[in-house]
Every structure is written in C-alpha cells, then in structure tokens.
C-alpha cells in the first residue's frame, strides 16, 4: 500500500511574503510610527512616507467556510485582498488607501463582526478546544468566550481601559490558553475516579505514575488486575494523569469548576513578565452562559477601570494598591487556597512589615 502513497513535500512553514500586502512588502523593516485613528483601526507610516491602514475585527475563531467566505468577500469588496489573523484570532484587513477604512469598518459591523480590539480595549479572549474537540476538557472554552464577549463587546469596541486587557480561557488545568491579565480556567476539586477495569488495557502505568506532580499515584492490583490507586490526601486534582490514562476520570459535572487568575503579563513593558495569580475559585461550570464567572470578571474589570492609572496593566495596578486592597475592592474572599504551598512558596510570602492598614 505504501507504494501507492504520495510522498509528502516537506515544505514546512510557507513564506509569508507571497501573501503580504505590497505596501508592507515594500516597506518591510522600514516602518516609522503608527497612529490610532479610532478603535479597531491602526495606521502605520513608513520612512518612505507610505502608509498602511489596518482594520481589526473580532471573529468566532471556529470559522465555518461560509463565515470565512463572507470575510473574504468583505476583504475583496472593501479591502484590497490582503488579510491576516492576530494571535487572538482577530482578523485584520490591510489597505493602502485610507479612504477604504470607513466603508470597510461599516461592512464588517453590518456583517456582525465587531471592529475594535486595539490599544486600551479588551481584545478577544483567546481560547482553546473545549467540548468541541479536546479529549480532556472540563468545559467549553468557545462557549465561555462567546458568553463573555457578548457582555464585553463595548469594551472591545472602545478605549476605556487603563491599558490593553488580554484575557484567556482554557478548558482544563493544562491551560493551553496560557496566562492572561484575566484567565478563566478549569479547577478540579475531587481526585480522579478510576475505572479499574480499563486501566490495564489502556494505560502505560509507569508513565502515568511519573506524570503526577505530587507522586500521588501508585501501581496497584485491584480485583486481581493491574491498576492504579490514588492517595487522595496527596492528590491536588490537577488532572495531569487523565490524558495519559482516561480511565482516571477527572471531569465531573459538579466537581469540575472554574477559577479565575489575574495578572499574567508577558510583555516587558515597565515591569518584567509576571505570572498570573489565583483570585477566585469554586465558580460553577455553568453552561451555556457561565453567568457566575462573567460576573466576577466584570467586577474585576470594573475595579481595574476605576482604580488603575493609564498604562497600568492589571498586575501593575494590583501591585500598586496591594493584594489586600484588591480583595477589599473586588469583594472577593481571601482564603487559605490563595496562600502558595508549591515549591518556592516562600517567595510568595510576606517577609517584611510592608503592610497597609
């Protein structure tokens, strides 16, 4: 059979220049500055004097071919046939003719694609596969994002935030969605339930054991068959054993909940990159609209908007006012779960008398 098969052409990553707007190609590496004529629109000026306008619109990321074609139609009719997608699955239309901008914006909005996501807006929440495709999800990331963006769309279209807000959601504790100024993540609260009948066949036991970050899994014989057992006292319910061994069922309609983390900031602007930190857990995983999670996110955003100085990202704002005050202004409870007990926890303890009263 292999003889009939077509040998792949290992072309790897395609050259972007072939699809790039000519004015970008021409001025490659020669851009001088940019301006922001309105939310969702950038204009970059090159040393040559050339300009390129970018119009950015939100999409649903999971695009059907109809929607993709509708976007291409807009790109052809109102744009100049060149597009790109941002790291947050926003689509960008690039045009050399500034006159096209307004009609393009209008066409996008009319077709249901909000224009915005630039500068100090809340840009699209980045997300992951969820129930639509992944084999280990505790929730549906696309659904959470749709539900939240419905409520945040005005912030996407406006410039009301102190600085950019980068949000993410993920559908299991692995967090393919990564960190964010605000990250909505899965948090399991019960150890995996083991379907012992299946473990022997499906799971490579030594590698499952090795996967557990707290060494809570031991090989064991159950009903005379090789299986695994979990020390429930040690287990921190991370779900890391589930991908290599699906019979270690971690997902649960009740005990798989949401948690919210804030202050992940990857840019080097002002401060060094920071990790996100836990602020709320125990949030019901409540499809189709996850109202409890959205309410907390909106509360945090409101406090940030009210309290932060221009250019302060969420982590910078909280660090300035102090974590105790963050819990005070947001009304979120502070619990023992916020106190780090992982390796290097001592770095997260207050070893000073710097205290606000």
């Amino acid at each position: 059979m292999a003889a009939d098969m077509r040998e792949p052409i290992e072309s790897g990553c395609p050259d972007g220049f072939q699809y790039m707007h000519p004015v970008m190609r021409r001025n490659y590496g020669q851009w001088l500055y940019h301006e922001d004529p309105r939310p969702g629109v950038l204009v970059h000026t090159a040393r040559s004097g050339d300009k390129v306008w970018t119009v950015r619109a939100g999409t649903q990321r999971i695009l059907d071919v109809f929607t993709l074609r509708r976007l291409m139609d807009i790109g052809d009719q109102y744009g100049e046939g060149y597009v790109r997608f941002t790291i947050r699955s926003n689509i960008e239309f690039m045009v050399a003719d500034g006159a096209r901008v307004e009609p393009l914006v209008k066409a996008l909005e009319e077709a249901g694609f909000p224009v915005g996501g630039t500068r100090n807006s809340i840009t699209t929440i980045s997300h992951t596969q969820g129930w639509l495709h992944c084999d280990i999800p505790g929730t549906d990331a696309s659904g959470v994002v749709k539900a939240m963006m419905d409520e945040l769309v005005d912030e996407f279209k406006g410039w009301n935030m102190p600085n950019r807000v980068h949000m993410t959601t993920s559908c299991c504790q692995i967090n393919c969605g990564g960190q964010g100024d605000i990250a909505i993540n899965i948090q399991h609260v019960k150890p995996p339930k083991i379907n012992h009948a299946l473990v022997g066949n499906i799971c490579e036991r030594p590698s499952v054991v090795a996967r557990c970050p707290v060494a809570a899994i031991r090989p064991a014989m159950v009903d005379g068959k090789p299986s695994l057992e979990v020390d429930e006292k040690k287990c921190i319910c991370c779900g890391a054993c589930y991908p290599p061994c699906p019979p270690m069922q971690i997902n649960d309609h009740q005990y798989t909940q949401l948690a919210i983390w804030i202050g992940g900031n990857h840019s080097n602007a002002r401060g060094k990159p920071t990790f996100q930190r836990l602020v709320a857990a125990g949030i019901p995983n409540n499809p189709p609209r996850w109202p409890e999670a959205t309410a907390i996110v909106k509360k945090i955003l409101q406090c940030y908007k009210d309290g932060a100085k221009d250019w302060e990202r969420i982590n910078e704002w909280v660090e300035r006012i102090g974590w105790p005050r963050f819990f005070e202004v947001t009304g979120l409870p502070f619990t023992k779960y916020h106190i780090d007990n992982w390796r290097g926890a001592r770095n997260n303890l207050n070893s000073s008398t710097h205290i606000r009263f």
């Binding site: 972007g16 052809d76 659904g143």
Partner: protein
C-alpha cells in the same frame, strides 16, 4: 434529503448576543451547506456538543493517526458517544502551518476553504494557540486526501506530539515600527531546519519556537515557548526631539488642555518619565527628553507611549531566552536569558542561530527525561550544567541576581575567574578592532 436535527436548546442560547457566534456558524453549515455530508457531520457535531453542555462532560477520545510518511501533525478524535451521534464519530484535526506572520490573500484562503469543504467538515480555526491553522473535523477516509491536495500547493503539517512544534512570529517588520529583526526569516530558518523533527515526533516532549520583534513580546514567547527570540537593540535609542516637543502639545490636546504646555509636560512626567523602570529618562526644561541609554533596559514603555518621537536604535539584533512553558509538572516557567544579544544580519548569523537551536535540542534530546520540557530539564540539572552542555559562557545578564544561598562548591573559582578576564580582554580587543 433534509437532515433530522438534534435539538440544541442550550447551544441556541449562544446564538444570541452581539459577538459572532460559532454556534450560528455551525448551524449554518448544517442547514445550508449544499453537501449532505457536511450537513450531517455538523448536525451530529452539534448533537454531541449539546450533549456535552447538558451533561457538562466531554466525549472525545484520542488515538494515533498520521499522513503517509509523517508521524504527527494530526490530533485524532473518536467519539465516545458515536452511537448517539454517528456522523461525527471521527473528527480529526489537521494542524497546518500558516505562513510566518499569518499573512493571507483572500484568494489563498478561498482556495484552502474549497479544499477543506471537499474533504472535511467545513470548520477551521485561525489559529490554534500554537499558531496552526486547525482544520477541524476530518475522518479516516479524508484526511490524507485533504493533506495531499493542500500539500501540493504549498502547505504542510505542523507538529503534534513530542516534536518541534509550529512556530509563531509577530507581524513585526511587516508593519510594526518597534521591530528589531526579520521575524519571518528567523521563524522560517529555524522551523524549516527542523522539519524532520516537526513531522516525526522523537524528542522527549514538545519544543516550541516563537519570535517577537521587540520586548513587547506580542507572541508571548518568553512564557509560552521553549526557545524565545526577542528583537532588541544595543546602541542608543533614537530620539526625534521635534516630534517629542510636538507630542507635549498633542497630549495636552488629547487630555483636554489644548495649548497648555504645563499640562503636556505633566502628562509626560506621569506617563513616561515616572514609569521608566530604571529612571533612565529626564525631561528637560527646554522640553527636550534625554535617555540614559546605559541604564535603559529596553522595556519599550516610553517607545510605546511615544511611537513618533522614540525609536529603537540601529544596532539591532535579538535576545534569546530558553525554557518557557506552562504548568506541567513543576509549575509555569518563563524562559531564561541564554543569549543577551546576537546580531541577526548575515547568513552566518542565521547559521549561528540554527546551530544554537540544534545544540539545545540535541542536548535536551539526550538529557531530557520522557515528557520533560527543556525548561524543566534546566531546572533539574541547573542552568550552569545546561550552559556547559550547549557551550555557552555564563554572563551576568542571565540572572536577576547572584545566588543568596551559600550551598555551592567553589573549587575551580580561579579558573573560572581567569576565563572571565580572558573573555573580557578578548571582547575589548575585538571591539577595538
């Protein structure tokens, strides 16, 4: 023939509201696509998804499939509730590498859509979090054909499994005035050198390259990649004093104090001068700005606020940080500076970065445990052993601060000190010409 629709009361709620709805998109395929196969597949998919929404559980399981000649690049999905929703029983995702920088013409996207519609579900994602185009929903009969078709006109699979993964690079030099390097060239040089490692998973675990043209790091490279390349510059920042003066008035104007120089200056104090992490900025009485370049840490903040007035210098290059990744299984890791600065101009420079990538991957392939990311290995063996393994000399820019714990064995100090002095001497000679 019309397809009998599974009821989707919960999903239907997600058609409401102003944000584009993925549910509406899928339903549109189900209801209006000319190809019955697609109508059925998407109907079945919606049925299963609704079932997930109702029960709050996922119903996919994995497996192993790949296109002929490759070992990875496809995420296979078989339904655990295939009996209830048979038409989407198999729903594999092909991860396809986008062009570096994610540039497309409308034409090429239409062409990809056409190919995909012929073979797959009609659903795709621009892009996955690692940057692939994800063509979601092929079955065993179709994925090879789809691959063959798009591979013929220039598209190739990305990574999945323990291999080099698809890279990412920011829009950078194509449009962004902050860019300090040719992101695309770096991205493609590296990735396409490791094509074999992308297609045939044989490493301890995944390995990601990401390229950001400046320290704003729009690709999240430091946290989300094993090998982060970040553009920067070594000489002085460029200051356009006239543009700066204009900005004083422009900002005064923006904040509703048109013509008020003092208000503009206050804005500069509050938003630029006082925000510099190293206090490297002075605003003079004559409205000129001065940067203490020897103290500037290239954080980008002042350039971000004043893109017309301030620009990166001319002596551009990149910093390289190694070992970033998400949580599993020792907690998140940021990359660590391994190369504080490297020019990225000549063919030799590109060769050097590819060599460095090779050194790193080889050393890690040899020394990493199964399922251990490069950063975890570095944490386990210590940065110094890693540096020795890849043949790089220690440099104070690699650390935040020297050790504070006295548990270290310092025999060999004299040799190490000697090596440092020699290196410094050579650098000085080299600089002198």
């Amino acid at each position: 023939m019309t397809v009998k629709h599974y009821p989707t009361p919960m999903l239907d709620v997600l058609e409401e509201g102003p944000w584009p709805s993925f549910v509406s998109g899928i339903k549109n395929l189900r209801d209006n696509h000319p190809d019955e196969r697609i109508r059925k597949v998407t109907n079945s998919l919606l049925g299963q998804l609704e079932h997930s929404y109702e029960t709050r559980m996922g119903y996919w399981k994995g497996g192993t499939i790949s296109v002929f000649g490759y070992g990875g690049g496809i995420i296979p999905r078989f339904s655990e509730v295939g009996d209830m929703f048979p038409e989407s029983r198999e729903f594999h995702t092909l991860r396809v590498q986008p062009p570096a920088g994610n540039y497309y013409t409308t034409d090429i996207l239409r062409q990809l859509a056409d190919s995909w519609e012929k073979h797959g579900s009609g659903l795709q994602t621009f892009h996955g979090q690692t940057g692939n185009i994800m063509f979601i929903g092929a079955d065993s009969k179709s994925y090879q054909h789809f691959f063959d078709e798009i591979n013929d006109y220039g598209w190739d699979l990305g990574g999945a499994g323990p291999c080099v993964r698809t890279g990412m690079s920011c829009v950078g030099a194509a449009r962004c005035e902050m860019s300090n390097c040719n992101e695309q060239a770096i991205h493609r040089h590296l990735l396409n050198n490791f094509t074999d490692d992308v297609h045939r998973p044989a490493l301890p675990y995944k390995f990601k390259f990401k390229v950001s043209g400046c320290p704003n790091d729009c690709m999240n490279a430091i946290e989300r990649s094993d090998f982060a390349i970040i553009g920067t510059w070594r000489d002085d920042m460029k200051v356009d004093q006239q543009a700066f003066k204009d900005m004083i008035y422009k900002k005064a104007d923006e904040i509703g104090h048109t013509g008020d120089r003092a208000a503009g200056r206050q804005y500069m104090f509050d938003n630029v001068v006082s925000r510099c992490p190293t206090n490297a900025i002075t605003l003079h009485d004559d409205d000129t700005i001065e940067i203490d370049n020897s103290n500037c840490v290239r954080c980008m903040h002042c350039l971000n606020v004043l893109p017309k007035a301030l620009h990166p210098g001319d002596d551009k290059g990149v910093s390289i940080l190694i070992g970033g990744k998400r949580t599993l299984k020792i907690g998140d890791l940021m990359g660590t500076v391994i190369v504080p600065f490297m020019k990225m101009d000549t063919a030799e420079d590109y060769e050097r970065i590819v060599e460095l990538g090779t050194e790193v991957i080889d050393f890690w392939a040899e020394n990493g445990l199964e399922h251990e990311r490069c950063g975890e290995m570095i944490e386990r063996i210590g940065l110094v052993n890693f540096l020795e393994g890849i043949g790089i000399d220690p440099d104070p820019n690699m650390i935040k601060q020297p050790r504070s714990v006295s548990y270290v064995r310092t025999d060999g100090w004299d040799e190490a000190a000697e090596a440092w002095f020699n290196r410094k001497r050579e650098e000085k000679l080299a600089a002198a010409g």
